[in-house]
């Protein structure tokens, strides 16, 4: 009996050591490329959800970031750049996690060499990280956030935004994607063009999802679209049949899920389509990814994919000014000729940081100078086109891309939706 108990104890010890070894090896690999030189070093962090439904998009972003760094030979002017890819998600949540996001931001805050922070992917996560980074004066650039309240007040935001995110009173956050006021208009333009007469919206109650749903509802009248319902859902519910039957009763012929894939997106679309077989389905950039559209990745079935359209700030990668060159470099580096469209935003976020640091010469390791230079960016020529930032930190880019269900089950670029078009 004692021998058996010893055996069980030994097994548990071996398993624990194995788990510890796995954990430590992951930590090492997350450090990314890192070299030092006598010219001084600066540290750059990215914080993105590398686990869960968004991992295809964020994995592509990290590759884009690393590609930009590789092309610059890990240098920004006279400084050697240490880059660390941080993960703001947990396996349990399958999505971003507030605690993990705060941990990532604090890691950068505790690093005196940190001059640039790329993140977050989810607007709700930026609500957590912006105040932490703001107090340390670290410049933050998001390659994906679209919620307007992070940078501006007004329609679609809540009281106190955005000032409550900036405890120092000084702005430290910028983004290179157009915000949701433009995305809401793009979605409404698409729905009107498709002949939607009654639109039902469900949102995931998160900062991004609820905010976008609010904007679509607010802008719907002016766009000539009738929104018959806007409901916040319980994202962990096993099904949404009662909701589907409610919107069916309201005569909805089009359905928009405003949220991210991890928050019950596939299930609610399936349930609404089961209740209203002729319904047209729409999604914003939070669901415009293979984890949602590809049945092989436990997304919606192919039959529903044909009824689905989504908007995302990225256009056809080939159509960007530096798109062809970027795709060729990406293929050469990773062997992938068709990366997720978000790869280019990761690439540009890093390139923007490297160019800004390099442009400051000897002051490139001064985060205050980097921040001022970022806000002073006007008419920057980039792979995304020529853009700058306004005083709130919003990009001057305005185009959204419309995507449909591609032959491989992944979103395929359909056309560009111009602002006001």
């Amino acid at each position: 009996m004692r021998a058996r108990q010893f055996g069980v104890a030994a097994c548990i010890a071996v398993l624990s050591l194995g788990a510890a070894a796995c954990g430590s090896s992951k930590k090492k690999s997350s450090a990314g490329s890192s070299t030092t030189s006598s010219g001084g070093t600066v540290d750059i962090y990215s914080s993105l959800p590398l686990q869960g439904a968004s991992k295809d998009q964020t994995g592509a972003m990290v590759k884009g970031i690393q590609l930009a760094l590789k092309e610059a030979k890990s240098k920004a002017g006279q400084f050697t750049v240490n880059y660390q890819s941080l993960d703001d998600s947990t396996a349990q949540a399958g999505s971003w996690d507030p605690g993990q996001t705060a941990t990532d931001a604090r890691k950068a805050v505790q690093d005196s060499k940190a001059v640039y922070y790329i993140g977050e992917f989810n607007s709700g996560a930026s609500v957590v990280s912006i105040p932490i980074l703001n107090q340390a004066g670290i410049p933050q650039v998001s390659p994906a956030n679209t919620y307007p309240g992070l940078t501006t007040s007004g329609p679609g935001t809540v009281a106190g935004e955005p000032d409550k995110y900036y405890p120092t009173g000084k702005r430290t956050y910028l983004r290179i994607v157009p915000q949701d006021r433009i995305q809401a208009a793009a979605l409404l333009t698409t729905m009107k063009g498709d002949g939607c007469t009654k639109v039902a919206i469900a949102n995931d109650k998160e900062t991004y999802g609820a905010g976008l749903a609010r904007l679509v509802e607010l802008q719907s009248k002016a766009a000539g679209v009738n929104v018959v319902d806007n409901t916040g859902i319980e994202k962990t519910a096993p099904n949404f049949r009662s909701y589907a039957s409610t919107v069916k009763g309201k005569g909805a012929d089009c359905f928009l899920f405003s949220g991210v894939t991890a928050n019950g997106a596939a299930q609610i679309n399936k349930d609404v389509a089961a209740a209203i077989p002729t319904v047209k389905l729409y999604g914003p950039d939070g669901t415009c990814e293979s984890g949602f559209t590809n049945p092989a990745k436990h997304g919606i079935p192919a039959t529903l994919g044909k009824a689905f359209k989504c908007t995302v700030a990225t256009q056809d990668l080939k159509a960007y000014p530096g798109g062809q060159k970027f795709l060729a470099s990406f293929k050469a580096a990773y062997g992938d000729a068709n990366p997720d469209p978000y790869a280019i935003y990761g690439y540009e976020a890093m390139k923007l940081g490297l160019d800004t640091i390099a442009g400051l010469g000897a002051k490139g390791n001064d985060k205050t100078a980097v921040l001022a230079a970022l806000f002073a960016t006007k008419a920057r020529s980039s792979v995304l086109g020529t853009y700058g930032f306004d005083k709130n930190g919003d990009t001057t880019l305005t185009d959204y891309g419309l995507y449909t269900f591609g032959p491989d089950g992944n979103p395929a670029f359909s056309k560009t939706i111009k602002q006001g078009g």
């Binding site: 869960g52 947990t90 349990q92 999505s95 319980e234 962990t236 299930q267 984890g291 436990h298």
Partner: protein, 340 residues
């Protein structure tokens, strides 16, 4: 006052149970389009949904009845049943493009595989984690059960990740089979009830009529006396875990087909509802577990549809508290060794 107290003690439980359906029935009948069909549709969905909870609840009640352990890992065995089912039917090539007979045949094989896998898993858990603690203080196996629940959740997490995973709607859930007076019976209703009823009847017959079933009942009454009478108590307990696990496997398959999604955390909520069902019906009693499961399924459907899903958990547990106040031993509960 005496009259009111007497009335409440006699009819209070019935009134409490019927409160929600009666309220919404009256509301439907006095509305713009008087009809009881919406309420009846809620109850039909409730019975089919409750059948899944009932099958899991039977597993809780069997184990509690025999070793007085709340097997917290049982809900997660049910989750593994769902994961195994979707993995197996994908492995054998059952997809939306498969013919009807192919789907039926494939799912029958999947049912057997899920039941065998979950039954075996449950027996292994008992052998590894609970049997060595048979004579330990009651808190030891309880906390071990919680530990095993986390281990199984992590297995699910590694298997399919943290997000809900959509699975093929193989039974064309939502399709009408027939309707009577506005009450629609869907395919998923037929599947859930059609599998639960024969499985529970088979289990009841096994326990009442087979030699092992009698051994299980004897062990449940008094393990020491059963041992003295020549019953192999360890084997009997293993058999109990096997049966409970098999039902959890079947419930896992039905859940995956019914909800068309699986999730590593589904066992927590499902397990909690099923455990509540077992307590509501009277823990240790199979008929009570089935009744409790169906009542919870009905409350859940009425709450989801009429009140709002965000209130469902609170309403279900509110009902449990009411039932416990009126009948602490559950609806058709019996005195357990512990209570006696």
């Amino acid at each position: 006052m005496q009259v009111v107290r007497g009335f409440l003690s006699r009819y209070g439980l019935i009134l409490a149970l019927a409160a929600l359906p009666i309220f919404y029935g009256v509301k439907d009948l006095t509305g713009k389009h008087p009809s009881l069909a919406p309420l009846a549709n809620n109850l039909v969905s409730g019975i089919s949904n409750g059948s899944i909870w009932a099958m899991i609840a039977v597993g809780y009640t069997l184990v509690y009845g025999i070793i007085e352990l709340i097997n917290f890992a049982h809900g997660d065995v049910f989750m593994i049943g769902s994961f195994t089912s979707q993995a197996f039917w994908s492995l054998i090539g059952v997809t939306l493009a498969t013919s009807t007979f192919g789907v039926i045949g494939g799912l029958l094989v999947t049912l057997v595989v899920a039941m065998v896998c979950c039954g075996t898993l449950n027996v292994m858990i008992e052998r590894v984690a609970y049997r060595p603690l048979r004579n330990a203080p009651k808190l030891a196996p309880l906390i071990t059960a919680v530990g095993f629940s986390f281990i199984l959740q992590n297995v699910g997490l590694l298997w399919l990740g943290g997000s809900q995973a959509s699975v093929d709607n193989l039974i064309h859930q939502g399709s009408k089979v027939f309707s009577i007076g506005g009450v629609v019976i869907h395919r998923e209703d037929v599947l859930a009830v059609g599998l639960t009823v024969p499985l529970v009847i088979a289990l009841t017959l096994f326990i009442n009529q087979s030699r092992l079933g009698k051994a299980m009942r004897a062990t449940a009454q008094d393990p020491e006396a059963a041992r003295l009478m020549g019953i192999n108590v360890d084997t009997t307990i293993s058999m109990t875990f096997l049966l409970g696990g098999m039902l959890a496997g079947a419930a896992g398959l039905i859940y995956a087909l019914y909800q068309t999604q699986v999730w590593f955390f589904q066992g927590f909520r499902g397990g909690l509802f099923a455990f509540t069902a077992a307590v509501m019906g009277g823990i240790g009693n199979i008929r009570g577990a089935v009744l409790g499961g169906i009542i919870i399924g009905c409350i859940q459907q009425i709450s989801d549809n009429r009140i709002g899903p965000q209130w469902t958990d609170a309403i279900i547990f509110g009902y449990l508290i009411m039932i416990m106040v009126f009948r602490p031993q559950g609806l058709i509960g019996e005195e357990t060794r512990e209570a006696g």
